[in-house]
Symmetry: C2
Subunit: 332 residues, 2 copies
C-alpha cells in the first residue's frame, strides 16, 4: 500500500514529529536544525531566523484573524529565543476571486501587530491561484530577530529550573472550534493570539534567568513539555490543578473530548526559569493584562527522564503524553 500523509501528520503532535524527523530533518540534517528550537540561531549567535505558514480557517475569529496570527506566530518564535523581532517577509497565496477588501483588512491587522513588535516587512511574494487550488488565502511569514539574550535553549533545562506558564491555556483552539462550527456562545471566549515580545522584554530587562521559552502552539502545553523533557533529558512534574483553564475552555474541551493542555495557543508560552527567579518572573508577567493567571505549573526532576508526569491534588499521578491523532486541522 502506498504511504500517504494524513491530517494527523500536521497536528503538532507525535505523527507530525515523525514526518518532520523522517523526511525533513533526515534530508536537511545539520547542527542548527538538530537543536530543534523555535527559531534557528545563526550569524555567530547574533540573529534568530524562523518561518511559519498560516492556513487557519475561518480567516476571522474572536480575538484575531489570519493576519494578526501570521505576524504573532513568527515574531513569537523569535521572541522565544530571546530575540527582538526586526525583519519579516510576507508571502501570500490567494485564491482567484478573493475580495480585495478582505485582503486589506488582513494586511491592516498585520501592520498593527508589526508595530507592537517594532518589526517591518522587508520582502514579499504574491501568488494568485485558480479557484479550488487553495482555500481563500494562505500566508507565510519568515522573520529575523536580533538576539538580546544569548544561550536560551530547550536543550539546557535542569533541576534548578521551574516551569511557568504566562496565562490560561487553550483559548485559541477553543475559539477556532467555536468559530468553525458556528456555535453561538454568550461567553467571552476569544483566541489568546498576542505578540509575546513585550512580555519577554520585560522579563529580560528585569534580569530574570530564563533557561528556555516556547510558545505552546499546535499540540499545546503537552507537546512543549514533552519535547523539553526529551531535549533536556529531564522529568517535568506538573501539578495538574495548577494549569490555568477558563470555564469556557473547559466546556469546549468536554464537547471535543480534548485535554485543555493539548489545545493550541497563540499567545501562551511556557518558561523554564531558575527557581530563585520564578516568583519575580510570575509577578512581572502578571503586570500584563492577559497574564493575570500567570503561575508556576511544574518542577524539573530526574524521576522519569524524558517524561512528563501529571500529579493530581488527590495524590494520583499519570504520564502526560505528546498529543496524537487528528486534533483540529487548520488551527493556525
Amino acid at each position: 500500500m502506498t504511504k500517504t500523509i494524513s491530517l494527523a501528520c500536521g497536528n503538532g503532535g507525535e505523527e507530525n514529529n515523525e514526518l518532520i524527523s523522517k523526511v525533513f530533518y533526515k534530508a536537511f540534517k545539520n547542527e542548527i536544525l538538530d537543536k530543534s528550537e523555535d527559531a534557528a540561531i545563526i550569524h555567530n549567535g547574533e540573529l534568530a531566523f524562523s518561518t511559519d505558514s498560516f492556513t487557519v480557517s475561518p480567516l476571522f475569529f474572536a480575538g484575531a484573524d489570519i493576519g494578526k496570527l501570521a505576524v504573532c506566530g513568527t515574531c513569537n518564535d523569535l521572541a522565544m529565543m530571546g530575540a527582538k523581532p526586526k525583519y519579516l517577509t510576507c508571502s501570500v497565496i490567494i485564491e482567484e476571486g478573493f475580495e480585495t477588501r478582505e485582503l486589506e483588512r488582513i494586511v491592516r491587522s498585520m501592520k498593527k501587530e508589526l508595530e507592537i513588535n517594532g518589526a517591518i516587512v522587508v520582502s514579499g511574494d504574491t501568488k494568485v491561484v485558480p479557484r479550488g487550488s487553495v482555500d481563500k488565502i494562505f500566508i507565510n511569514t519568515s522573520g529575523i530577530g536580533e538576539v538580546i539574550k544569548k544561550g536560551i535553549s530547550s536543550n539546557n533545562i535542569t533541576k534548578d529550573d521551574v516551569i511557568i506558564i504566562n496565562r490560561d491555556v487553550g483559548c485559541h483552539g477553543a475559539a477556532i472550534f467555536v468559530a468553525r462550527e458556528g456555535i453561538e456562545m454568550s461567553s467571552s471566549l476569544k483566541s489568546d493570539c498576542e505578540s509575546l515580545y513585550p512580555q519577554v522584554k520585560a522579563l529580560l530587562d528585569a534580569g530574570i534567568k530564563i533557561t528556555a521559552m516556547r510558545d505552546a502552539t499546535r499540540g499545546g502545553v503537552s507537546a512543549v513539555l514533552n519535547e523539553w523533557s526529551r531535549q533536556s533529558n529531564v522529568c517535568i512534574e506538573v501539578e495538574e490543578e495548577s494549569i490555568p483553564v477558563s470555564d469556557e475552555v473547559k466546556g469546549i474541551c468536554e464537547m471535543l473530548g480534548f485535554e485543555a493542555a493539548s489545545l493550541a495557543n497563540e499567545g501562551t508560552f511556557v518558561l523554564a526559569v531558575n527557581h530563585e527567579d520564578a516568583p519575580r518572573a510570575v509577578e512581572i508577567l502578571k503586570t500584563f493584562e492577559s497574564c493575570s493567571r500567570a503561575t508556576i505549573i511544574a518542577k524539573v526532576t530526574d524521576t522519569h527522564p524524558k517524561k512528563v508526569v501529571l500529579n493530581s491534588s488527590w495524590g494520583t499521578s499519570r504520564f502526560l503524553d505528546t498529543p496524537s491523532g487528528e486534533l483540529l486541522p487548520r488551527i493556525c
Copy 2:
C-alpha cells in the same frame, strides 16, 4: 460591485504590480521595501533576505520539480543581490493524502540544490490541510545570504551600462505549459531552472563591475527591463533579434500567442554591467553549460526615460511593455 483579486494579479505583470503597491507596499511602507529589489538588504548591508512561495502545477516537469524550483527561486533572489545563499527556511503546506514517496522525492531535489548553493535549511514548518484546501503541495522558502559585493541595485543603472542576458529565454514557461497540457513533444524542451549563484560568483571573482542583476521569473525579461527602466529612470533599448530564443520556445509562443520575452524563466537572468566589462562578462557566462547563448541584448540611453524600446533589424521600433493579462497561472 465588490472588487476581487483576479488571476492576472499574480502574473508578475502590471496587475500584479498594482496589487503589491496598493495593498502591501502601502501598508508596510518602509525604506527597504521601497527599493523593490529581488531581496532586502539588511543588517548594515551585510545580509540579503528574501522569500518565495511555490505553487507550480504540475509538481514534476522536464528539467525540474517544485523542490528544485523552491531552492533555486529563493537562492537566486539572494544571488541577484550579490549575496551567497547561506540559510534557508522551508515551510510546506501538504494536502491530506499526498504520497510520502512524492514528498521524499521533492525533498531530495531540494537537498541536491542546496548543496550547489552551499546553503542549509535551518528552520521549517509543516502543515497538513484537508482535501480540497490546497492542490497537492505548496512550498515556501525564505533565505538569508551573505552579501559578497555591496551596492548592487536596480536603482543605479546608467548609460555606462549595457544589458546582458545569460542564456535563451522562456524555457520554464514553455516547459510548464507543455507538461500541463500533456503535449507530446519530441524536442529537448525543458525548464531552465538552475541555481545562479555559481555564475554570479564567477563574475564577481573576475571583478566584473555589475550594477544590477535580476532573474527573469514571472513576467519574463519584459517585466525586468520595464521595472529597471522605471527604477533607474532610464531608457533601455533592446535589439529584438539579439534576445536568444530556442526554436522549441518559439513554437510554443506561437501556440500561446505570447512573446518569448514575457515567458517565465527560473535560471535566466539579466545583468546591467559597465560597458567596458561586458564582453568579458559574456565570455565568463559562456563557460557555463547552460549559457552558450549568453549575449548583450540592450543598451541604456535617455531617449525615452522609464521605457523599454524594442528595435528590429529592419529599422522599426516599438515599446516593449510590462506584460499584462492572465499569462500562465501557477508557473512557479
